[in-house]
């Protein structure tokens, strides 16, 4: 069978790997549509024919469920993201807060807190460090965490509060240095999935995702695995 999956851009690469393994194991084909979660939400509400929705946050799947879209009770956290402070250059990164307090940089890239969970997490962490107001003039916001990473990756922002998954997936040529932001400083970056219509293949895929093989991939990619955050 064929499963159509709508996945948040930041999780696309990881999901592709898992889907590859799944196809090899089960024979079901997986069609992946990558986009921003906001777009997917609008599309699903307007009748897009996806089987599973992997959102970048917990809010949109919940909203869909409220509106009676999707298989009731199928919503769950498939991955929990971690926030990392990253620079493409070489630097000694001990405590991320120290780096930021030192202030010897012009730009810090974050994802837009209004649009992206990673952005919201970055805001919370900065507030926890009491740097939020002080750093305002230096903040540049990407539409999503992907863009925040690009700001840092192109060197236009010296530092970025980005997803750990991105840091780990970076190109081998880009050396970079990073430190993980303690998960206690922000609400968990829970990415939820929702089964949109019942199908054997869909359920099989979700089961596969919860399995050990997938958990390994998730960990390597920088996520905490489902239900284990």
């Amino acid at each position: 069978d064929e499963i159509r999956i709508a996945v948040a851009a930041n999780f696309t690469a990881t999901l592709q790997r898992i889907a590859g393994d799944f196809t090899r194991a089960s024979g079901h084909r997986v069609l992946i549509s990558s986009s921003s979660t906001g777009k997917h939400y609008a599309q699903i509400r307007n009748g897009a024919g996806f089987d599973i929705f992997f959102a970048a946050d917990a809010e949109r799947p919940a909203l869909l469920e409220q509106q009676g879209i999707g298989v009731p009770g199928s919503r769950f956290v498939y991955a929990t993201g971690r926030l990392a402070l990253w620079t493409r250059g070489e630097a000694v990164v001990g405590d991320p807060a120290d780096v930021l307090r030192g202030g010897r940089f012009a730009r810090l890239a974050i994802a837009n807190p209004r649009l992206a969970p990673y952005g919201l997490a970055a805001e919370q962490a900065l507030r926890a460090w009491q740097l939020w107001d002080k750093l305002q003039p230096k903040l540049v916001r990407g539409e999503n965490v992907g863009q925040a990473y690009q700001y840092a990756a192109t060197g236009n922002a010296e530092w970025g509060l980005v997803a750990l998954s991105q840091v780990l997936a970076r190109e081998p040529r880009v050396r970079g240095s990073y430190a993980i932001v303690p998960a206690t400083l922000h609400t968990p970056i829970s990415q939820e999935a929702l089964l949109l219509r019942p199908s054997r293949a869909g359920e099989a895929f979700l089961a596969f995702l919860r399995g050990d093989a997938a958990a390994q991939v998730l960990r390597e990619a920088g996520y905490a695995a489902p239900g284990r955050s």
């Binding site: 990558s34 986009s35 599309q43 897009a48 990756a153 997936a169 190109e171």
Partner: protein, 222 residues
């Protein structure tokens, strides 16, 4: 991540893109011609408002435009009966709306530049309106058609916001090259993004070079 090669799915995207761009351009040239002609020659009081409406798709960010198109195509929208959303046909419609001004405006300008005298002379030689159009207007408006085609085609190639919104990025159907490149950038697969971008640029450049060097877009010397 493997060394940058073009994956089959990218090739598929390329094919969808070329089809989309070609069909969009073609349809817009066909539809845009009578519209542009009317805009260039009519003295009607509706001319200015319609001219303004034609330019409006430009004003909205593509994603937002796509959002409204999606609403229109959705279950409660006026176009719901056609079930266009997430299909190639829907993509085509979206691209056409988005690129409309780039095709209509150059056509209109080039139609306006066709001298009344040439048309009158053709009429006196027995050429009816259709005949005049094909044998006088079309050859004289050629630069406008080239500009319209280039702008329309290239704009659809690079288009992405509308397409992503209406199309839903479905491989083989609505996943176009621009989305593929975007995805590669988003998923940090820069090498492949560079490769695709460079390919896109080189092929487009070659194509444009042929068009421009052939002189097909140059004005007939008067």
């Amino acid at each position: 991540m493997n060394p940058a090669t073009v994956s089959p799915s990218d090739l598929q995207a390329l094919w969808v893109t070329l089809r989309l761009a070609a069909l969009t351009t073609l349809s817009l040239l066909l539809l845009g011609t009578p519209l542009a002609w009317w805009l260039a020659r009519s003295g009607s009081r509706l001319r200015a408002p319609i001219e303004a409406v034609v330019a409006l798709p430009l004003v909205l960010p593509p994603t937002v435009l796509g959002f409204y198109l999606l609403l229109a195509m959705g279950p409660n929208g006026p176009l719901s009966g056609l079930s266009m959303a997430f299909t190639f046909a829907g993509l085509l419609l979206g691209s056409m709306v988005y690129s409309l001004p780039f095709v209509v405006q150059p056509l209109r300008d080039s139609f306006a530049a066709v001298s009344e005298q040439s048309l009158e002379a053709a009429a006196c030689l027995g050429a009816g309106p259709v005949n005049r159009f094909f044998n006088v207007v079309l050859p004289l408006a050629r630069p406008g058609y080239v500009t319209a085609s280039v702008l329309g085609f290239a704009h659809t190639l690079g288009e992405f916001g509308v397409v992503l919104m209406i199309g839903g990025n479905i491989p083989g159907q609505t996943r176009v090259l621009s989305i593929a490149v975007y995805e590669h950038v988003e998923t940090l697969d820069y090498a492949r993004a560079h490769l695709l971008s460079a390919g896109l640029l080189i092929v487009s450049f070659a194509l444009l070079l042929v068009v421009y060097a052939s002189g097909v877009g140059r004005k007939v010397v008067r």
